[in-house]
């Protein structure tokens, strides 16, 4: 067993075991804690695969962003000291069935993939990227392909410019998120200002 596969096993096990612990534990904040371990180990798997940008994004968005908001929400809204979620036996059975079905889908797709290696032209196309990755140069290809310049040779002719890149869809999504953010801030504000206006009138 090489060092790489040993580390892969360690992090894959910790991902899966803490994912199971998320399901088993009853307290919401404990679930969040196990979710940190699970998502952190997933990002470690990304780092092992030399995809350090995706791994860092995983840490920043899911662990540092979403989970902090989750715990923050629990702290602000909980009525008792430790919020618990008790699952009824029926729910457990239904959720177990859904999980089992999903496992079968995943297993089917894993079986369908040919893991022995890609075809020859694909390998030669990817060799360039692999050499860049092994020298630690992982970010520039992502940035250039955002601009529409594919350095992994995905274009058929001379590796020149093709399509508009990923920048346009990325911008559309981010503007959409901004609209959602402003909209929710507006909705949250409108109620409060009306109440305070009413209060002022009654005082006067």
């Amino acid at each position: 067993m090489t060092g790489h596969s040993f580390l892969f096993t360690v992090f894959a096990l910790s991902t899966c075991l803490s994912a199971i612990a998320v399901v088993i534990s009853q307290t919401v904040v404990r679930m969040a804690f196990w979710l940190i371990i699970s998502l952190g180990s997933t990002s470690a798997l990304f780092f092992l695969a030399d995809a350090d940008f995706v791994g860092a994004a995983q840490l920043l968005i899911y662990v540092g962003g979403t989970l902090v908001l989750l715990v923050f929400g629990v702290m602000l809204t909980a009525s008792g000291p430790y919020l618990k979620i008790a699952t009824a036996p029926g729910e457990t059975i239904i959720a177990g069935l859904a999980g089992l079905m999903f496992l079968m889908i995943v297993f089917g797709s894993i079986q369908a993939v040919d893991w022995t290696g890609g075809s020859a032209p694909e390998v030669s196309r990817q060799r360039d990227v692999a050499s860049a990755v092994s020298s630690g140069n992982t970010l520039r290809p992502i940035g250039l392909s955002l601009l529409g310049l594919r350095v992994d040779g995905a274009s058929d002719s001379d590796g020149g410019i093709e399509a508009p890149g990923y920048l346009l869809p990325f911008e559309i999504v981010s503007v959409h998120l901004l609209v959602v953010l402003i909209g929710s801030a507006y909705l949250a504000r409108a109620k409060r200002s009306r109440q305070s206006a009413g209060g002022n009138v009654s005082v006067a």
């Binding site: 060092g3 307290t27 904040v29 404990r30 804690f33 940190i36 952190g40 350090d52 940008f53 791994g55 860092a56 994004a57 840490l59 920043l60 662990v63 540092g64 962003g65 989970l67 902090v68 908001l69 715990v71 923050f72 629990v74 702290m75 602000l76 000291p81 430790y82 360039d128 050499s131 860049a132 020298s135 630690g136 140069n137 992982t138 970010l139 520039r140 250039l144 601009l147 310049l149 350095v151 020149g160 410019i161």
Partner: protein, 424 residues
């Protein structure tokens, strides 16, 4: 013999009995070195904090413990803390209560993985080092929120809530301010960013353009707040919240929070020094040129390797001095300014620091275009393209970047500029 680019490479090539396990030994060496940085920086800075606060408030600070200036005070504190009983209140969620200090410690320790201490002295030379660093820094909050929540105490809960609100809002200007020098550099690789500021303090990114100049000060304020230092230490306000999130902690678990805090102070000041203050470069052109040529000769075998190694040691010394000066300023601020209220902390961030940093970010993106129109260059002092080309060429000489990728990067930059021409 010392031409290898990393410890792992050297061990694999020269030490036969390791049998290809050089990777593990190198990882162990890196981890041991970083643990010492992580443990010794709080040791030094806690002593510094006591002495500086003593001077500012007209006291002596520690004098009795240890020899000169009471330098063993931190060790005495450590021995005291180890001896204390490890308490867990009955109302607490014991598993979360016990694990929260470790999350803080691990997060602030992991930051040092991607932080370069000198030219090439970095445990993980990732291409998106700054991005990984910001991601790991954002994890430290989680331990503090968990500590506040799981203590089963009102004071801790309020401290944890304040901390969550403060950190979530201060992360935004922190990331934006860290991006401004990245725009000037065109790279997220901290090693590359540091190397670009070689040759004179006017090449430091703080003097790159007016926007990076102001961004440095905004970054420093935001970094102080993100380490929950005074005047932004509402999460642990002693006078109103007893101790905030760490009210219920004692002994080593309590001290883990503070080790994490001091280590992350050092880390954010180190990032400031790499991004804005030239990192391991001295800022004096004759010294910088001599050091970099010594490094280059040592690496290629043209000169003595010891000279190159000593140049790196000097670089690490310069880096640590700059970062420690940042920590000193943070300590100075803490004992000078009164604590803000929590609403003032949030107002400062959301109404002032976020708009200011967004404006600086926009300005930094527009600045090269304006300069291009006015004076046909993209930077005031030196053409960035030449410097970047020089750095890449040097890296190619050292053999860390294969020739193919250099030519590809050049081809890419050429085609990107042609896109710009078409657009114009």
């Amino acid at each position: 013999m010392f031409a290898a680019n990393s410890i792992a490479e050297y061990l694999d090539q020269n030490v036969a009995w390791l049998n290809g396990c050089g990777y593990w030994v190198a990882a162990l060496i890196h981890a041991l070195l970083l643990i010492h940085v992580f443990a010794l920086s709080p040791f030094a800075f806690i002593w510094l904090e006591r002495k500086v606060s003593g001077r500012i408030q007209d006291r002596l600070g520690p004098t009795r413990v240890g020899g000169l200036f009471g330098w063993l005070q931190s060790l005495a504190d450590g021995i005291k803390l180890i001896q204390k009983e490890d308490l867990c209140p009955p109302a607490a969620d014991s598993m979360l209560f016990r694990s929260a200090p470790y999350i803080v410690c691990v997060a602030s320790f992991a930051v040092f993985m991607v932080l370069p201490f000198s030219h090439g002295w970095v445990a993980v030379a990732a291409d998106c080092g700054l991005f990984i660093l910001l991601a790991i820094l954002s994890l430290e909050v989680f331990g503090i929120i968990l500590a506040g929540y799981s203590s089963g105490s009102k004071w801790s809960l309020f401290g944890g809530m304040r901390e969550a609100a403060q950190m979530v809002s201060y992360e935004i200007p922190l990331a934006i301010c860290a991006l401004i020098p990245v725009i000037a550099a065109g790279s997220l690789n901290l090693g590359e960013i540091g190397e670009m500021q070689r040759g004179g303090f006017w090449n430091w990114f703080v003097f790159h353009d007016p926007f990076t100049f102001f961004a440095f000060f905004v970054y420093f304020v935001v970094a102080t707040a993100s380490c929950k230092r005074a005047p932004f230490d509402l999460a642990e306000a002693e006078s109103e919240l007893v101790g905030g999130f760490h009210t219920e902690y004692s002994g080593m678990r309590w001290s883990f929070f503070f080790m994490g805090e001091y280590a992350s102070m050092f880390a954010v000041c180190g990032v400031a020094s790499v991004l804005f203050l030239g990192g391991w470069n001295t800022g004096l052109p004759f010294l910088d040129d001599a050091l970099s040529s010594a490094r280059l000769n040592g690496a290629t075998g043209a000169g003595p390797w010891a000279a190159g190694y000593l140049a790196n040691v000097l670089g690490a010394f310069v880096f640590v001095t700059k970062a420690s000066f940042g920590v000193f300023v943070q300590v100075w601020l803490r004992w000078t300014l009164p604590r803000l209220r929590i609403d003032q902390v949030i107002t400062t961030c959301l109404k002032y620091l976020v708009p200011i940093s967004c404006f600086l970010f926009l300005g930094a993106t527009v600045w090269p275009l304006v300069l291009l129109q006015v004076s046909q260059t993209t930077t005031l002092t030196a053409p960035l393209g030449d410097r970047f080309g020089g750095a890449l060429g040097e890296a190619r000489l050292r053999g860390s970047v294969p020739a193919a990728s250099v030519s590809r990067a050049q081809a890419a930059s050429v085609s990107v500029s042609s896109v710009g021409e078409v657009a114009r």
